[in-house]
């Protein structure tokens, strides 16, 4: 039995298989409509995350399966003090597979150690969110046709954004990726990431301006610059517009550059960009459902 705790749990060969399956699901959804008949997914969400939970639930329903679960800790026995390991032992009697979101880091790992059913980490604090990374990778592969040989710009909060860190760690396994980190000084990518890139001989550059770098990019991964990350209001006001993607900046970009965003978007991508065919962040959500379908099938040995 296999679980998914980190995006690196799968080898690149296994990821290729997973993405091939997701691509086939996209093309032939009917073929998979009854693959999970009689199976149940438990969504154990100890903190609210409507988007991720609905994506998992939609994935299971698309496969013919059913869904049970809870959407915040208050409506689960955790509010009575039950441990994660006890909860998963109980859930193992009710469902065939479990997607767990928990505010505490490592909680899904504890669950996996005591579970009789596959556990998927659906986000644990600021630690891992593997299905977001799988979604990002599938989106890139589906729309670019490859996961190697490109320049990717990551823009916004590169210090605290776990989706960014996970994506970097997943992409370094592919050939000839050049990273461009675009962020304010205060929110630069952590040293352990740049140390890892140096050690692996992977090229990267750091820049504070999106405008200066956008023309070189094949992919642009946007994240939100949150006000609470700044020490003072002045810095925030000075910098926030610098990292807003608008029509003007898009004019400087390559005609086939893709814009991705893990969502929710607040104001870092102007709504005028939404109609640009290069803006693929809503398609990305759809790929999130396909990759979760492929993941459920793979972990249940139904692929």
């Amino acid at each position: 039995m296999r679980h998914l705790m980190s995006p690196l749990d799968f080898t690149t060969d296994e990821l290729t298989q997973l993405f091939d399956l997701a691509a086939d699901i996209e093309k032939n959804p009917q073929k998979y409509a009854h693959k999970c008949d009689g199976k149940k997914l438990a969504t154990c969400f100890y903190e609210p995350s409507t988007r991720t939970r609905l994506s998992f639930e939609s994935a299971m329903i698309n496969l013919g399966g059913q869904v049970i679960g809870f959407s915040d800790a208050g409506s689960s026995s955790a509010s009575k003090g039950e441990s994660v390991s006890d909860t998963i032992r109980v859930i193992s009697c009710f469902a065939d597979i479990c997607a767990m979101r928990h505010p505490k880091e490592g909680a899904p790992m504890v669950a996996a150690a005591h579970s009789r059913i596959p556990v998927i980490n659906a986000g644990d604090g600021g630690h891992q969110h593997p299905t977001q990374t799988l979604t990002d990778l599938l989106t890139i592969r589906s729309l670019k046709g490859r996961l190697d040989h490109f320049t990717i710009g990551l823009c916004g909060d590169l210090k605290f954004g776990r989706t960014v860190h996970s994506l970097i760690r997943a992409l370094v396994r592919y050939e000839d990726i050049h990273f461009v980190f675009i962020s304010p000084e205060e929110l630069r990518v952590p040293d352990y990431i740049t140390d890892m890139l140096k050690e692996m001989g992977i090229s990267y550059e750091e820049n504070t301006s999106l405008e200066d770098t956008i023309a070189d990019l094949d992919l642009l991964y946007m994240t939100r610059v949150q006000k609470e990350r700044f020490f003072n209001e002045e810095d925030y006001v000075r910098l926030k517009d610098f990292y807003i993607l608008n029509k003007q900046k898009m004019e400087l970009a390559k005609p086939d550059m893709l814009v991705l965003h893990p969502l929710p978007r607040v104001n870092e991508i102007s709504v005028e960009v939404d109609d640009d065919p290069r803006a693929v962040y809503f398609k990305q959500v759809q790929y999130g459902v396909y990759v979760r379908m492929a993941l459920i099938l793979t972990l249940l040995d139904l692929a």
């Binding site: 441990s83 994660v84 928990h102 505490k104 880091e105 490592g106 909680a107 504890v110 630690h127």
Partner: protein, 147 residues
């Protein structure tokens, strides 16, 4: 000069950095063992000027001293059996440390589930970095003495 007698079976931990023997006493959880322990602080040392020594009289199979590799490579571990040194054990960094150091990340699952063992896994041997098995919080050797 203070004299501490010989032990029949157990460990003599020599060349401990002066003043650190009590920390090691706690890290080895010697307070939980019902055995004779001598803590010698600031003993004279030709090499270092002064040093600490710990003598632990116990069954040599009951005490896991692997963690010492994480604390200080320079400690000399003498294994005693029948009153004689039978082995001088080399210290290396253990692959895993269980219930010796606590994860200090307030967002770690161990912060709310008290019964979970605190496990740190060797992540970078060169830089001597360990990471919490659950949340990957970093812990270096030098952080240890400030816990």
């Amino acid at each position: 000069m203070l004299n501490v007698g010989k032990i029949e079976e157990g460990f003599v931990l020599d060349h401990i950095e002066a003043g650190k023997s009590l920390t090691i006493y706690h890290l080895l959880q010697l307070d939980k063992l019902d055995c004779t322990v001598a803590i010698i602080k600031n003993a004279r040392s030709n090499k270092k000027g002064k040093k600490d020594i710990l003598k632990v009289e116990c069954d040599i199979n009951t005490l896991n001293i692997d963690v010492l590799g994480f604390i200080d490579h320079n400690i000399t571990v003498n294994v005693i059996k029948d009153g004689k040194i039978v082995e001088k054990r080399d210290l290396s960094l253990p692959k895993e440390i269980k219930n010796v150091i606590k994860c200090r990340n307030p967002r770690c699952i161990t912060s709310i589930e008290q019964e979970l063992p605190h496990i740190f896994v060797l992540a970078d041997e060169k830089k001597e970095i360990y990471r919490c098995k659950y949340c990957e919080e970093k812990c270096r050797k030098r952080d240890l003495f400030y816990q």
